[in-house]
């Protein structure tokens, strides 16, 4: 999210949303791997593999980003 906010300040909200969905997820997973490596087991013991977590996160990000990008575009056109 922080990374997306930085992108939004340098470009526009649409680019920020694209970064959030397609690049942010990789950065998020990479950061988690570096900073919270042992915490993967919290999910693994629940039957969640890294791939499943990745797919779920991607779709949640997409579901959040699409309406936000839509609202942002409408606001941009209006104002």
């Amino acid at each position: 999210m922080a990374f997306t906010a930085v992108c939004a300040s340098f470009s526009n909200i649409i680019w920020a949303m694209l970064v959030f969905v397609f690049l942010g997820i990789f950065i998020g997973f990479w950061s988690f791997q570096i900073l919270h490596k042992s915490k993967w087991y919290f999910y693994h013991n629940l039957g969640l593999t890294k791939l499943k977590l990745f797919k779920t996160s991607f779709f949640i990000n997409l579901l959040v980003a699409i309406p936000l990008a839509f609202v942002a575009t409408v606001l941009y056109i209006l104002f």
Binding site: H36, S38, K39, Y41, F42, H44, N45, G47, L48, T49
Partner: protein, 219 residues
């Protein structure tokens, strides 16, 4: 229920950690694996759990081949890693429902006298012993048929250790357990089979004296 591991081999670069290791775990058994630091105990557990790739490993689950990558998905083995695996910002009482939807199971943990005292505390503020006890309790109550515990007695005060030992024994009707820990006396009290990893091989151990013979303990 049976989990049979064979031909487990792991190299880090050119360095051989262990070669052609075999191990069988059945319901009702506690298999203890002893060994000096860096001998490959945790590596073996991670390979069985599918978390670390080995050079080779074969796993049979009730005589059927299963890939290590299926172990997490199929929830066959639960795993307590050496390091704490719980998010530091969540309270104990918030973690329990994430792991158990059934109220009965939740209550079994909530009403544990040790847990009742710390249920409002975030895990990041628990003492290492309290945290370890809570982690063991969580892993132990899960429905997986097998459980691997990497240093479950680490940092536990004696009274917590006794509770953990009682708990593990009570689970043996429906679980098989692998334990690695340097607290060999505590492990010997509850284990049914003992093994020592030494020079990349697993040896059967019957008594504490065997541990001395292999140089794990001082004579």
């Amino acid at each position: 229920m049976e989990l049979a591991i064979s031909n487990a081999t792991k190299f880090f670069g050119k360095k051989s950690i262990f070669k052609d290791v075999s191990l069988t775990l059945k319901t009702g058994e506690i298999v203890a694996i002893f060994g000096r630091n860096g001998c490959g105990k945790s590596t073996l557990l991670k390979m069985i759990f599918g978390k670390m790739k080995g050079n080779s490993i074969n796993i049979l689950y009730n005589n059927e081949v299963i890939k290590p990558s299926e172990i997490i998905k199929e929830q066959i083995v639960s795993y307590l890693p050496q390091e704490s695996f719980l998010p530091k910002n969540l309270k104990v009482r918030d973690i329990i429902p994430i792991y158990f939807s059934e109220e009965k199971k939740q209550d079994r943990i909530f009403y544990d006298p040790f847990i009742a005292k710390i249920s409002n505390t975030v895990t990041g503020k628990l003492s290492l012993g309290e945290l370890r006890y809570f982690e063991v309790l969580l892993i132990a109550q899960m429905d997986h048929q097998f459980m691997m515990l990497d240093e479950p007695f680490s940092m536990l005060e004696p009274i917590y250790k006794d509770k953990v030992k009682e708990l593990l024994i009570s689970l043996l009707d429906f679980k098989g357990i692998i334990i690695t820990d340097h607290y060999y006396n505590d492990v010997f009290e509850i284990s049914t089979n003992n093994k020592l990893m030494h020079d990349g091989k697993l040896y059967n151990i019957d008594t504490v004296n065997d541990l001395k013979d292999f140089g794990y303990l001082r004579k």
